[in-house]
């Protein structure tokens, strides 16, 4: 796409936004008033003088119009006009708010302007036009390989990332240097070094340690134990020559589709002081009943239950990829079996081990649900942040400072991984098929693995069994195992009464959850793949920054995201709180890193010369993307679709502040049930969610499988997958 085409499209879009579409958000569905009243387009507002400060927007647009209409694409002018339009709208949007002038310092210039509500459709179109003009300008000046389409994608996604990742983050973190309304950098220093974070009291006394140490300890343990367990699983599955593929497969899917809290609830039912196992041990073996599950052991157990299967997936892949011929080579050189394992297999597994550990570590840092239910007195950063904001002592500054510490830990982990792996090269793992036979596990190792793996698997089965049963009995927490439909009826009662009437108290949140997840998933997958394509296939200045921005939201704890969204998007110019849209946006940008990573991984396997071949044949970036790249990325797209859908259904910490009366979510509803002690209803609802997600994940898997096999049989006329 050429710069001129994009420039003209931008001009048309912005002109429609300026001349026709309602400039502000419609508060009372007042579209009927168009083009007057609340639904006035900007032009009308400019002419009647009520938005006189927005004249520069119209002027900038008018400045580029003549050249574009005459078929020229003036690069610099378009850049200036585009950037100017966007900057001016936001600047004025912040300066003049709902209560008139917000930046009192500007009073001499602006006087006493009327209130300016949030931006609406018209503004959106003009903003999009502004971004497009800026991109066209860049392309006309030769950036992005002179491809305006790529330029627009980069600028557009950068704009979105800044608006929905960067701005909220800065908003909340800036709270760390404020004491009330006072700017106080010393308060930040005090908060960052507070004993609540760093105290080492637990070493010498019985008091608890600083929350940073707690968090680090928990995350390290979770990382190490999950990795070791995952390794045991992988060794047994790949090299152990054992049956049970279905069991192994189920292990990998379950944690993905398990809503937060539910594993913790099951653990309490099993190991609480009046738990099933505890009671059994007490009655039969006189083992005293204790409350050990509340605290580090319980949280650790719950996190390992969730993370070990993830580690297994990673290590399974790595182990399968290690070419057996390497090991054969080592054996033919006379190495004994254990030696082969230690000197060849083990070092080659190292990067995957590091990745598995890192993932367990980072996920544990971000986990909110398990420490909330099982933490007892054991506090970690994520819960501390939540209660600093939502607790009885509301202190956003403290929460922001703790969030900074959590961010630092996460980034530290990533930096460490980059440093550790960066120093070594593992080029022996190729994608090529290999005919050698994998070396079987040394006997002792196999026995060791079996002794850990099978009991753990049984344990997992019991935990999920509890979840399954818990929804159907009266009160599993108190051991009342009378069968009942009551919990499902409370949540999901349906009445036939002039059509279907969803009376159950959970229906509203369930419908909202499915809607929001179903809308967010394709947006996440789409944007993620596009960004991956830009990052992997286009070279431009700031590519590293763009990649960093997409990955940033992965490192931000959910609670922080949620509160920052409320802070950033509650007032004009961008007013989103209380809408379903803010939930969708939150999910899209939170799950984006996974889409991008999936895309990057898939693109790494697609020869870049395919893109280039298309380019030399006259295919612009758009055609190449549509006809060549996207069809080849289909499995990756579908995978990230499934992933973002499932994640949107199980997220809780980020959205707990974003749900509203009209748009409540399943997980938040479940949290409420847990809070009120209605464990059975919480478990019943979780069961429903698990079933829905299972259907979606398996369905999607089936779909991808068929798509790949069916490819050959298709007839040539139906083969333009992207057309």
């Amino acid at each position: 796409m050429g710069a001129l085409t994009l420039g003209r499209a931008a001009l048309i879009g912005a002109a429609i936004g300026l001349l026709l579409a309602p400039w502000h958000g419609l508060e009372n569905g007042a579209l009927a008033a168009w083009p007057r009243g609340e639904a006035s387009p900007l032009l009308a507002l400019l002419l009647d003088g009520s938005r006189w400060w927005l004249w520069p927007v119209a002027a900038l647009l008018a400045a580029v119009a003549p050249a574009l209409l005459r078929g020229r694409a003036p690069g610099l002018l378009m850049m200036v006009a585009g950037a100017g339009i966007v900057a001016w709208i936001f600047l004025m949007g912040h300066a003049i708010g709902l209560n008139g002038l917000a930046w009192k310092g500007l009073a001499p210039l602006l006087g006493a302007p009327p209130p300016q509500p949030s931006l609406g459709w018209g503004a959106l179109m003009v903003l999009a036009g502004g971004v497009a003009l800026f991109s066209a300008g860049l392309a006309a000046r030769g950036s992005f390989g002179a491809d305006a389409f790529v330029s627009f994608l980069v600028c557009g996604s950068a704009f979105l990332l800044i608006l929905f990742v960067f701005v909220p983050l800065v908003t909340i973190l800036s709270a760390a240097i404020y004491e009330g309304d006072r700017f106080a950098p010393d308060a930040l220093a005090a908060r960052l070094t507070a004993p609540e974070a760093w105290s080492l009291a637990c070493v010498t006394t019985h008091a608890g340690c600083g929350v940073v140490w707690n968090t680090l300890l928990l995350a390290t343990l979770t990382g190490v134990i999950s990795t070791l367990l995952g390794l045991g699983f992988a060794l047994l599955a790949v090299r152990g020559n054992v049956r049970g593929a279905v069991a192994f497969r189920a292990m990998t899917i379950l944690p993905l589709i398990t809503p937060p809290f539910v594993v913790s609830l099951a653990l309490i039912v099993l190991f609480g002081r009046t738990g099933i196992v505890t009671g059994f041990l007490w009655e039969n073996f006189d083992i005293p009943r204790s409350r050990w599950i509340y605290g580090l052991p319980g949280v650790l157990l719950a996190q390992v239950l969730a993370q070990a299967p993830v580690a297994f997936m990673l290590l399974d892949g790595a182990l399968r990829a290690i070419s057996p011929s390497l090991e054969e080579a080592a054996s033919t050189m006379g190495a004994r079996r254990f030696k082969v394992f230690r000197s060849v297999t083990w070092p080659l597994l190292k990067p995957a081990l590091a990745a598995a550990f890192l993932l367990g570590f980072v996920e544990s840092l971000a986990d909110f649900g398990n420490p909330l239910v099982l933490g007892g007195d054991f506090d970690v950063l994520s819960t501390r942040i939540f209660f600093a904001i939502a607790g009885a002592r509301h202190d956003p500054g403290r929460a922001a400072a703790l969030a900074l510490l959590l961010l630092a830990l996460t980034f530290g982990a990533f930096a460490f991984q980059a440093w550790w792996l960066g120093k070594r090269r593992y080029t022996t793992v190729t994608g090529k098929g290999d005919s050698g036979l994998p070396a079987p596990l040394p006997k002792g190792l196999k026995l060791g693995c079996s002794l850990v793996v099978w009991p753990w698997m049984a344990f997992t089965a019991v935990v999920y069994g509890i979840i399954l049963v818990g929804g159907f009995v009266r009160d599993i927490g108190r051991g009342d195992m009378t069968f009942t439909w009551r919990h499902f009826l409370t949540g999901f009662e349906v009445e036939w009464h002039n059509g279907v009437d969803f009376r159950g108290s959970a229906w509203d949140s369930l419908f909202t959850t499915i809607e929001v997840a179903a809308i967010a998933a394709p947006l996440t997958a789409g944007l993620g793949i596009l960004l991956a394509w830009l990052i992997a296939r286009q070279s431009f200045k700031g590519r590293g920054t763009l990649e960093f921005m997409t990955m940033l939201s992965f490192a931000i704890p959910g609670t922080v995201v949620g509160v920052s969204y409320v802070m950033a998007f509650n007032v004009p110019p961008v007013e989103l709180t209380g809408t379903a849209l803010i939930l969708i946006i939150c999910f899209v940008f939170r799950n984006l890193p996974v889409g991008v990573r999936g895309g990057l991984a898939a693109l790494a396997q697609i020869d870049k010369s395919l893109d280039e071949a298309s380019a030399t044949m006259g295919g612009g970036a758009l055609s190449t993307l549509r006809r060549v790249v996207l069809p080849l990325l289909r499995p990756a797209i579908v995978a990230s679709l499934a992933f973002s859908f499932v994640h949107a259904m199980t997220a809780v910490s980020a959205v707990i502040f974003l749900v509203s009366a009209q748009h409540n979510l399943a997980t938040v509803y479940i949290v409420g049930r847990v809070e009120a002690g209605e464990m059975a209803l919480a478990i019943a609802y979780s069961t429903v969610l698990i079933v829905i997600m299972l259907v979606v994940v398996l369905g999607i898997e089936k779909l991808v499988g068929r798509a790949q096999i069916g490819r050959r049989a298709a007839t040539p006329t139906t083969m333009h997958a992207g057309a």
């Binding site: 949030s118 007195d377 108190r478 509203s660 809070e675």
Partner: protein, 344 residues
């Protein structure tokens, strides 16, 4: 509501209001932030809808979360009225000028404590129910250990209760703060802290939610749970083997409150709800919803299971002093330093 209709509505919402707040509400809407348990919130809202025809959108969150929400939304409020939840955050909201003054015609029908609550806040909040503080213990566990049944606050500090008491953390729970304030008022500040240090040795966990200890006592996860009595009643009625104690030294209470949010978009309906919620017919819903607080309207029926205030030695709780943010911070900070930091 049919699924397709909802899908359609979402589609319209996305299509029509890119940067917009919640789809506009037709005349006759009300957004309620509800801070009691869900099973009480729902029938209340349904009853109000039936009584007035106003469409209610209700969000249930704990009072702490709701307070956070209202603060965050202060410049552009989303909610109209905040119903339920312990009085402290309501009073704090009044103090921070987040809520609106309103004198309901029904004020004259209310108990004194409810009216006092309103007067202390310049009528920015009003009591809708009261619940006394106390504790419950698990009878099965008690018998198993052959411990004499506790009757007073002092009993809980005895060594045989070591590791058997659960109470919420005042940092996160209004219930726990009510307990601190109560003990300070019953015993005087210094003796109270001495007592709290002794109690601390017996506490097995400071929970985050105020009602959690009642549930824990019901399942036997702990022997004693310090909560509001009505939370314990709920457990007892559900069949849990618990006994409920109103401590002999006297105890404090919470006043569940209601406030109209400053900047409410449906102010008239908020006032309608306010008046209605103070009426006996509205307050009678509580009993049907397994909530056993004492209603604030003198004419409301008291659920037979509710702990009667006549039988409880209630102290003259000074809400004005102990509800203020400064006093609160002072007490909690001292508690953290002198009690929580100690070893167990």
């Amino acid at each position: 509501m049919s699924f397709t209709r909802r899908l359609l509505a979402t589609g319209l919402l996305l299509g029509g209001t890119a940067f917009l707040p919640a789809a506009a509400q037709a005349q006759g809407n009300l957004v309620v932030y509800c801070s009691v348990q869900e099973e009480w919130c729902r029938p209340m809202m349904q009853a109000f809808e039936r009584a007035t025809g106003v469409r209610v959108a209700m969000t249930r969150r704990s009072s702490g979360e709701t307070m956070t929400q209202i603060r965050a939304e202060a410049t552009n409020p989303r909610g109209d009225i905040w119903w339920g939840g312990t009085g402290d955050p309501h009073m704090q909201a009044a103090e921070e000028n987040l809520t609106l003054e309103y004198r309901s015609p029904r004020l004259s029908e209310l108990h004194d404590w409810a009216v006092r609550q309103a007067e202390q806040t310049q009528f920015r909040t009003v009591g809708i129910y009261a619940g006394a503080l106390g504790y419950s213990y698990n009878v099965t566990e008690l018998n198993r250990r052959r411990i004499a049944a506790p009757r007073c606050w002092a009993d809980l500090a005895k060594p045989e209760f070591r590791g058997e008491i659960q109470v919420a953390d005042p940092n996160t729970s209004g219930t726990a703060y009510t307990m601190l304030a109560t003990l300070l008022q019953v015993m005087g500040e210094e003796p109270a802290f001495t007592y709290l240090r002794a109690l601390h040795r017996n506490v097995n966990q400071y929970t985050r939610s105020g009602a959690a200890p009642a549930r824990a006592a019901a399942t036997g996860e702990t022997l004693v749970g310090i909560t509001f009595l009505h939370d314990a009643v709920t457990q007892k009625i559900a069949g849990a083997p618990v006994e409920i104690v109103a401590p002999c030294e006297g105890t404090g209470y919470e006043i569940g409150s209601m406030s109209i949010i400053r900047g409410a978009r449906n102010l008239d309906n908020a006032r309608r709800f306010y008046d209605w919620a103070l009426s006996p017919e509205a307050q009678n819903i509580a009993g049907q919803a397994n909530s056993y607080q004492l209603p604030s309207n003198r004419n409301s029926a008291i659920p037979p299971q509710a702990p009667r205030f006549e039988n409880i030695r209630l102290i003259d709780y000074d809400f004005a002093r102990w509800g203020s943010a400064a006093e609160r911070t002072r007490v909690i900070t001292r508690w953290e330093r002198e009690v929580r930091a100690g070893s167990r």
